[in-house]
């Protein structure tokens, strides 16, 4: 096998079909980037659900001065007695595992921790703005309904938030985004296959003299087909590299900033991104190789 002979043939082929090659590269890059984004959303949701699975709780926020909630209309901050009574009431519920009280200071600390990267938001909020709350850990997170109802009506409670609902809403959004990304990725892959087919067909037509002579003088099938398949592979590889760059960009711009806006989000690690990039590049190159081989069988008699 003479590598430089094959490579010079590949180079000639790529140059001759430059526009088609660029079309293949762009299509593969976009398709694989979207596939990768889908996979990254998957990784994000996976890491979040495992992070939150043992932390999900109900939060009963208490009334304070100028509280906008209906339950607090016509009354000021909750009194100390009311807090004690509430804590007793919550502890008496059979579904409750344990309950903790979160002071304004503690709430502010938590807030600072989750929004550390968003300084504008952070500067606008003061300790006095933070509501006090009871954090209720349930024995079984699915039993939240009765506890939720009991707490909602209790005096001094402004509103009750089920973390699970917040998470579910967020996961729902992520899943829809993922589906959209995957659908577009699939369409792009389909387009890429057709484009590669066309490129190989053009290439085979352009080089029919060469391949005819190669057949005649007894070049092996591999030798005849390899330049075509290499053209597809190189286009796929370049597309894969571009999609890798796009994915790294997406990780920095989209996924990392997600934490600024959703306190719930966990950090997507670079090793997750590396896995996704490897997978998408391999998929992109394999698609190109397969599409080249399939069209070669039709357009290049060996």
């Amino acid at each position: 096998m003479r590598a430089n002979f094959i490579f010079s043939e590949v180079w000639i082929g790529l140059r001759r079909n430059l526009t088609m090659t660029i079309a293949v590269i762009v299509t593969v890059a976009i398709g694989m980037a979207l596939l990768g984004i889908g996979l990254m959303i998957n990784a994000q949701v996976g890491s979040m659900s495992s992070y939150w699975s043992d932390k999900v709780q109900l939060s009963a926020f208490l009334c304070m001065k100028n509280s906008p909630f209906d339950a607090c209309k016509g009354r000021g901050t909750v009194s100390a007695q009311e807090k004690v009574a509430l804590q007793k009431q919550i502890e008496s519920l059979p579904q409750v595992d344990r309950v903790t009280f979160e002071t304004q200071e503690k709430a502010y600390e938590n807030f600072k921790a989750s929004y550390s990267s968003n300084s504008v938001f952070l500067n606008a909020v003061k300790v006095e703005d933070m509501p006090e709350s009871f954090r209720v850990k349930l024995k079984n997170p699915d039993d939240y309904k009765s506890v939720f109802d009991a707490l909602s009506g209790a005096p001094g409670v402004a509103n009750v938030v089920n973390d699970q609902q917040l998470l579910d809403r967020f996961f729902g959004l992520m899943n829809r985004l993922r589906s959209a990304a995957l659908v577009v990725a699939l369409i792009q892959v389909f387009a890429a296959i057709l484009l590669i087919g066309n490129t190989v067909r053009l290439s085979a037509y352009n080089r029919r003299r060469e391949t005819g002579i190669m057949r005649l003088v007894g070049a092996s099938n591999l030798y005849i087909q390899l330049p075509f398949v290499m053209e597809g592979t190189i286009a796929g590889l370049v597309g894969g590299v571009i999609s890798a760059v796009l994915l790294m960009f997406a990780k920095i711009v989209i996924f990392d900033s997600m934490q600024k806006f959703f306190a719930l989000a966990t950090q997507l690690t670079w090793s997750d991104v590396a896995q996704v990039i490897t997978l998408t590049t391999v998929v992109g190159v394999l698609i190109c190789i397969l599409a080249s081989f399939v069209t070669l069988r039709r357009y290049l008699r060996v």
Partner: protein
Amino acid sequence: MADAATSATVLTPRLACRDAPVIHFDNVTKVYVNQNRPALDHVSVDVDKGEFVFLVGPSGSGKSTFLRLVLKEERPNSGAIHVAGKDLARLSNFKVPHLRRRIGCVFQDFRLLPNKNVYENVAFALEVIGKPRRFIRKVVPEVVELVGLEGKAHRMPDELSGGEQQRVAMARAFVNRPMILLADEPTGNIDPATSIGIMKVLDRINRTGTTVVMATHDAAIVDSMRKRVVELEDGKIVRDQSRGVYGQAY
């Protein structure tokens, strides 16, 4: 015809030994798809090592089909073909390239690569079968000289006359020292004076021990060479004559 076929069948074991013909057709019939008339009709013929054979006959008589069958570009509908000691029916597609390395081909339309010069065109045949570069550098100039193109190795095909282009094609066909050289109307696009030069090269190649099978319409050439003549008509062999001439049957 039937006798010939029978005797060939009987002789097969002995033919497998030292004196096996390089091309052996035994009762070969080829019918192309969507055609009623066979292109070759129960053809049996042997070509021995080192022979020079003219394949003559009108267009459509089966000359090209014969050559394509030798190259295993087509398969016969019935009958057996042995080339260079190999039974083509039992030769897997995977091994066909190796068969073709032992067969050189020359055509009426030269089939040179227009973007490569003489040297590169000849070297291409060796490059694509993976020969080492040092070997290519050694043998290509020898073959270019053998066909009479010394000093023109760096010309492009469009700078050469038809006869010279055909010499390049012959150099390419012969550079791998094939056992058999198939020539399909090699003088078809060349004027008679130049054709003589082409025939001299073919004769020179034949003298190196290469079997030459040449399909042609050119009566003058066949008559002047006085080699074996196999005449085909409607897919049948109507004449097989050593030291024959073109027009004897008419």
